[in-house]
């Protein structure tokens, strides 16, 4: 089953869930590995009370890659961290997150620990600060294996070496005894990926794993991730602010703005015919080798403060094609094609963004 079909079925998500409960799922439509419905995250402490995610819906099949794209502060990291329930104190999560049939939000602490690693694993943005500086790379990978499987230190260390070889770390055996600060940025990120893969997760979360790297190293790590993802058949949620990176790896793209999806669809459709002005803006601010000398067009302004969102569409204040109606109410996330959803009043008119601007 393709992701496209999953998305098409998403409108009637409740129905399909009931179906799969009542009867064995038909061979053509196994339930998706990840199913997120109406995910809302609110941070409430004595100092702040802010809603960061306003009801997200998405699903992901085994072996597929979903890219979350958006500017800093759009809620990408919060979204993926919700999947692991790795949120700051005071976070209130509503909605439902089902991964491989497990209701993540209902798990007790011990059950949650058992899920972190073998079912869902995460590779962080900053490998330099995400490894404990006081322990060797080999120890930190082996310790993760031992937290979830009944194996000896020797076996766990052997697995760590295999993993480092898998992510193409040269002289892996020697690197086991290296401390994080003794590795280069690229090698550290490879080691971080090895750590994430250590318990053979079904869902890999990659939270801007290439952002902190040099451009040349970035592409190496990206290619490695894509190769591993295909080889191991993992579902992957990949967070990035770089549309170019998304093109390299994504099957499906969800564009985020101010804690909401504004456009979601297969990567080809999003690149070729973006229907939301924000998506078009993101694409316009990327260097493309095909059109040398083309002017980059930055999106004017900055994302809105999540504590004071505008009453209508959150993007309206920055939007170049905004209509008076846009400031009145938040547009619905509408399906404009079987696998393509957009949150924009103009999208319903059927014109591609380029045409509207002309």
């Amino acid at each position: 089953m393709t992701l496209a079909a999953t998305l098409a079925a998403q409108e009637s998500a409740q129905e399909s869930a009931q179906e799969s409960e009542q009867a064995p799922a038909p061979a053509v439509a196994p339930p998706p590995l990840v199913q997120v419905e109406n995910l809302r995250v609110r941070i409430k402490t004595p100092d702040v009370d802010v809603t960061l995610l306003h009801g997200l819906n998405f699903s992901l099949n085994q072996g597929e890659v979903l890219c979350l794209v958006g500017e800093s502060g759009s809620g990408k990291s919060i979204t993926v961290r919700s999947l692991l329930r790795l949120l700051p104190p005071g976070a209130i999560v509503e909605g439902s997150i089902i991964v491989d049939g497990i209701d993540i939000l209902a798990l007790k602490p011990a059950q949650l620990r058992a899920v972190r690693g073998p079912l869902i694993a995460i590779a962080f943005q900053e490998p330099a600060t995400s490894f404990d500086p006081a322990f060797t790379i080999g120890y930190q990978i082996a310790e993760t294996v031992r937290a979830h499987e009944q194996v000896s230190w020797a076996d766990a260390t052997r697995r760590a070496q295999d993993l480092l070889e898998l992510v193409q770390v040269p002289s892996a055996k020697r690197r086991l005894d290296a401390y994080p600060h003794e590795l280069s940025g690229g090698l550290r990120q490879r080691a971080m990926i090895a750590l994430a893969l250590s318990c053979r997760p079904k869902l890999l979360i990659a939270d801007e794993p290439t952002t902190a790297l040099d451009a040349t190293v970035q592409i190496q790590v990206l290619l490695l991730l894509r190769e591993l993802q295909r080889e191991l058949g993992m579902a992957t949620v990949f967070v990035t602010h770089d549309v170019g990176v998304a093109c390299e790896i994504a099957d499906q793209v969800a564009v985020m703005y101010s804690g909401r999806f504004v456009e979601m669809g297969p990567i080809e459709r999003i690149i070729d015919a973006p229907r939301h002005p924000y998506t078009a803006g993101l694409l316009g601010s990327v260097v493309t080798p095909d059109v040398p000398g083309a002017r980059l067009e930055p999106i004017p302004g900055a994302p809105p403060d999540p504590t004071a969102l505008p009453p209508g569409c959150s993007f309206e204040p920055r939007c170049r094609v905004a209509r008076p109606a846009c400031a009145q109410a938040m547009p619905a996330f509408t399906q404009i094609a079987p696998l393509h959803q957009v949150r924009c009043v103009l999208a319903a008119s059927g014109a591609a963004m380029g045409d509207i601007e002309k």
Partner: protein, 316 residues
């Protein structure tokens, strides 16, 4: 690792020479001629010169220093001016008494400080955290001599359960000997326990805020394993504070030793100053300084064991 230790030992050499120079200079910083305290007031100039020559006070200063250093290195600190006994016989037993007191005080302070500080960090901002911080500040701020006298008044005078002063008799059984340690150690440990608790609290809570702790949670590690990581990261800075406090206890126990009549270096130094007993002062100060240096060296080595980054940073 061996290289690092050798490197740190090299540092110790110039510091030790500096310390020995200062100790030697003590003789001349004191008002008057160093020989004047030995020479009788009514001695003739000839006799006085004879005495000066006998002590080597008539030779050039660098030669005097080298001769003195040579004697010190071979374990001869001279003779006490007030008792006439060899200085080593006075200083070594006092040193042992002080060491046992400072060691006990440091252990107690470290145990209490680490436990309270870690608890407070984990309870960040809650009532128990604030209560512990208040106790810590109170512990840091209490004057030692006042605490010593209050303890004596309560436990020795009112309740009569613990001895008020001294070390007891040589023939006492173990429990009785131990009872003499209780009040001085409690008094000594209070201030460093407060300081250690505060510093451990801030180190641990800083560590808890680091990103890798969240990464450890994301790996599904149990809480006690995550604590091992936090502890190893916080151990270096905590050890530095504990080492410094131990070193302070070695030298800073003059008040406590005087209140409890504890025959240690503080007690001895106090007496030596009043008697203008220079050889004893020199030996005591020199030995205390050397202990200070060794304690710092040990802390550095331990810190390196806990934090691999220290090694590469200090070599480069």
């Amino acid at each position: 690792m061996a290289g690092f230790i050798a490197y740190r030992l090299l540092y110790v050499l110039p510091i030790s020479i500096g310390v020995s120079l200062i100790c030697f200079a003590l003789t001349y910083m004191a008002p008057g001629d160093p020989a004047s305290s030995i020479i009788p007031d009514d001695a003739s100039p000839e006799v006085a010169a004879q005495i000066r020559a006998a002590y080597g006070f008539d030779r050039p200063l660098p030669i005097q220093y080298l001769l003195w250093l040579w004697r010190v290195l071979s374990g001869d600190f001279g003779v006490s001016l007030s008792t006439g006994r060899p200085v080593t016989d006075e200083v070594i037993p006092a040193m042992m008494n002080t060491l046992s007191l400072a060691g006990g005080g440091a252990l107690l302070a470290a145990f209490v400080g680490i436990t309270l500080g870690t608890l407070a960090a984990y309870r960040n901002g809650r009532l128990s955290d604030r209560a512990i911080s208040a106790v810590g500040i109170a512990g840091m701020s209490v004057p030692q001599y006042w605490l010593a006298m209050v303890m004596v008044a309560i436990f020795a005078v009112e309740l009569g359960v613990l001895p008020a002063s001294g070390m007891g008799q040589p023939g006492d059984d173990f429990g009785r000997t131990l009872s003499f340690y209780v009040l001085p150690i409690l008094t000594l440990a209070t201030v460093p326990a407060g300081i250690i608790a505060r510093s451990v609290r801030s180190t641990v809570s800083e560590t808890l805020q680091q990103e890798f702790v969240q990464a450890l949670e994301a790996k599904g590690l149990p809480a006690w394993r995550i604590f091992l990581h936090v502890a190893k990261n916080a151990a270096g800075p905590a050890l530095a504070v504990i080492g410094l406090q131990f070193a302070n206890l070695l030298g800073g126990s003059i008040l406590v030793e005087t209140v409890f009549s504890w025959p240690g270096t503080g007690f001895l130094l106090n007496a030596a100053i009043f008697m203008r007993d220079l050889p004893v002062m020199q030996a005591t100060v020199l030995l205390l300084a050397m202990f200070f240096i060794v304690a710092n060296l040990l802390v550095d080595i331990l810190q390196m064991l806990f934090d691999p980054r220290v090694k590469s940073a200090r070599r480069g």
